[in-house]
């Protein structure tokens, strides 16, 4: 069954989510939203999924949700970065100099706090280029780890792109290649990454393609739930049954 890059990333992310986890999804995050809803439909029926913008939001504002996160009540959150460095630090602010940027990006939203607090953070990035994975960030919007004097439960799980998955090494936390998208070679990923990936003692595996069941539930039940939150993505971000026939 054919699938697109979004669907591959959604399925890869969904498989990481565990039953019973409290999962939060922020603004402008259609892929994580789809992944969380897909996991709940499949193997994580008891996950609590809170997608910002959903109709039956139980919290008073986003503030009570961020309070939940600050007090350690959120297991999973998703972040992205215009730039992601070799340690999973992220930049959502500027390309170029902060005071006179070449490109001014929308800004960090909650990343500088939530990255510290969600027990497991997944980074996602819909393109994988050397510019997007530089050696040095133009601005440090948030950091993947902290010194011992910071009460920080939050850890980076991995970086998900259409080319594969990078994960922090268990030594220094430098990103290493963990998984390849079907048809992608390790060299190709290194060529498209601006920093040198850490050596992975275990060779990367190739991601299982999205299954027929995953794609079917994603394109039907999950698409339906996404329509109100991400009308554009629901309509064009996922393949339609006719596209693949």
């Amino acid at each position: 069954m054919s699938y697109n890059h979004n669907e591959l990333m959604i399925c890869a992310l969904a498989r990481e989510l565990k039953d019973g986890e409290v999962i939060g999804v922020g603004n402008n995050s259609p892929i994580p939203a789809a992944a969380s809803l897909l996991a709940k439909e499949l193997h994580a029926p008891n996950a609590e999924v809170y997608v910002m913008g959903q109709a039956d939001w139980p919290f008073e504002g986003t503030k009570e949700f961020f309070d939940l996160m600050q007090r350690g009540g959120v297991d999973v959150f998703f972040l992205s970065g215009a730039q992601i460095d070799a340690y999973g630090n992220i930049n959502l602010h500027v390309i170029g100099d902060y005071d006179s940027p070449k490109v001014r990006l929308p800004g960090g939203a909650g990343a500088s706090v939530v990255y510290f607090l969600s027990k497991r953070t997944f980074l996602f990035k819909t393109d994988h280029t050397p510019q997007g994975f530089p050696e040095q960030l133009d601005f440090k919007t948030s950091v993947s780890s902290s010194a011992a004097d910071v009460d920080r439960p939050g850890r980076l799980e991995g970086v998900f792109t259409p080319l594969g998955i990078l994960r922090p090494s268990s030594y220094g936390g430098r990103l290493q290649l963990s998984a390849l998208a079907p048809g992608i070679e390790a060299d190709y990923i290194q060529q498209n990454t601006g920093f040198e990936l850490a050596l992975n003692p275990e060779p990367p595996f190739t991601l299982e393609e999205p299954t027929v069941e995953e794609l079917s539930i994603l394109r039907n039940q999950v698409r339906e739930q996404l329509k109100e939150l991400y009308p554009e993505f629901a309509s064009t971000g996922l393949l339609h049954t006719q596209d693949q026939q």
């Binding site: 402008n28 961020f66 006179s100 929308p106 990343a111 500088s112 706090v113």
Partner: protein, 286 residues
């Protein structure tokens, strides 16, 4: 009936030169009719605070010459892409900015509502926020000397403005549950609310959403379609064509001025799935 009901024209007169004005909303539930009136009235030197990730509400103000500065955590048009005026003004360096982080910003608003000068916030340490915000301070946790924590100053805007679904005649309001208007209304010295409709106390009491009592609200404006072109869930979706037109108009000052001048409030646009609520308009003036 409360005497809090007023008109848009009168409400914008509460904004004076140099005031710190907080506005909630993004591509949902932005108080757009108020903002357009503000621009039309030629208000200047506003110190804008965007309460949470913002969208066209902040961008349209950045396209006008109403602002002295903007405090924000993120400004984007969501599925419609970059916020054009935001991007241009910041790339030019032609606006004073203060960057905040959503959870820290809401904590600062909570601290404002509590009358305390600052509040600790998790996270932030060793990010570049600590460099660009000299008023985000790293301190030792007095209860655990081996721990550091960031503190941020509290926020008490002079005026807060938000769009809500409904008000009753006593001035109680039901707003969107995703917005932080209840603490915002407490933190602000004065609060103006625009609402889609005025309903009975009974209907308000059984409405879903964030309830904000009259005591936290200074003035209410009955403004149907007040969030247009942003979404007002249950009333109307985002007006995608309009927003694409806005983005196009943002590319030149002339086009943008024409966009502002030719704006017309939609006369229809409620979603068919929502039963028509009766809107009472008499008596709503001051």
């Amino acid at each position: 009936m409360t005497d809090k009901f007023t008109t848009l024209q009168q409400a914008v007169e509460w904004v004076s030169d140099g005031m710190v004005v907080a506005i909630s909303g993004n591509m949902d539930m932005s108080p757009m009719s108020f903002i357009r009136e503000l621009i039309k009235a030629g208000k200047k030197n506003i110190q804008l605070i965007c309460i949470g990730s913002s969208g066209i509400n902040a961008d349209i103000l950045l396209g006008s010459d109403s602002l002295r500065s903007v405090e924000f955590s993120q400004i984007s048009l969501g599925e419609f892409g970059f916020a054009p005026h935001f991007r241009r003004r910041l790339e030019e360096g032609s606006i004073e900015t203060k960057e905040h982080a959503c959870p820290a910003l809401f904590s600062a608003i909570q601290a404002g509502a509590m009358g305390i000068p600052f509040i600790p916030v998790r996270g932030l340490l060793e990010t570049d926020y600590m460099n660009i915000r000299t008023d985000f301070i790293r301190i030792n946790n007095p209860y655990n000397v081996e721990q550091s924590v960031a503190i941020v100053p509290s926020i008490r805007p002079d005026l807060a403005i938000f769009h809500a679904f409904k008000a009753d005649r006593k001035g109680n309001v039901v707003a969107h549950s995703l917005q932080n208007n209840r603490i915002l209304a407490q933190a602000a010295v004065k609060t103006i609310v625009t609402v889609e409709e005025i309903v009975t106390e009974q209907e308000l009491a059984s409405s879903q959403g964030s309830r904000i009592p009259s005591t936290y609200i200074s003035a209410i404006v009955h403004a149907p379609h007040g969030a247009h072109p942003t979404t007002c869930p249950g009333y109307y979706p985002a007006d995608a064509d309009h927003i694409r037109g806005y983005v196009k108009a943002a590319s030149s000052p002339t086009d943008f001025q024409h966009y502002l001048d030719s704006y017309e409030t939609p006369t229809t646009g409620r979603t068919d799935t929502v039963p028509a609520h009766s809107i009472e308009t008499k008596e709503v003036g001051v």
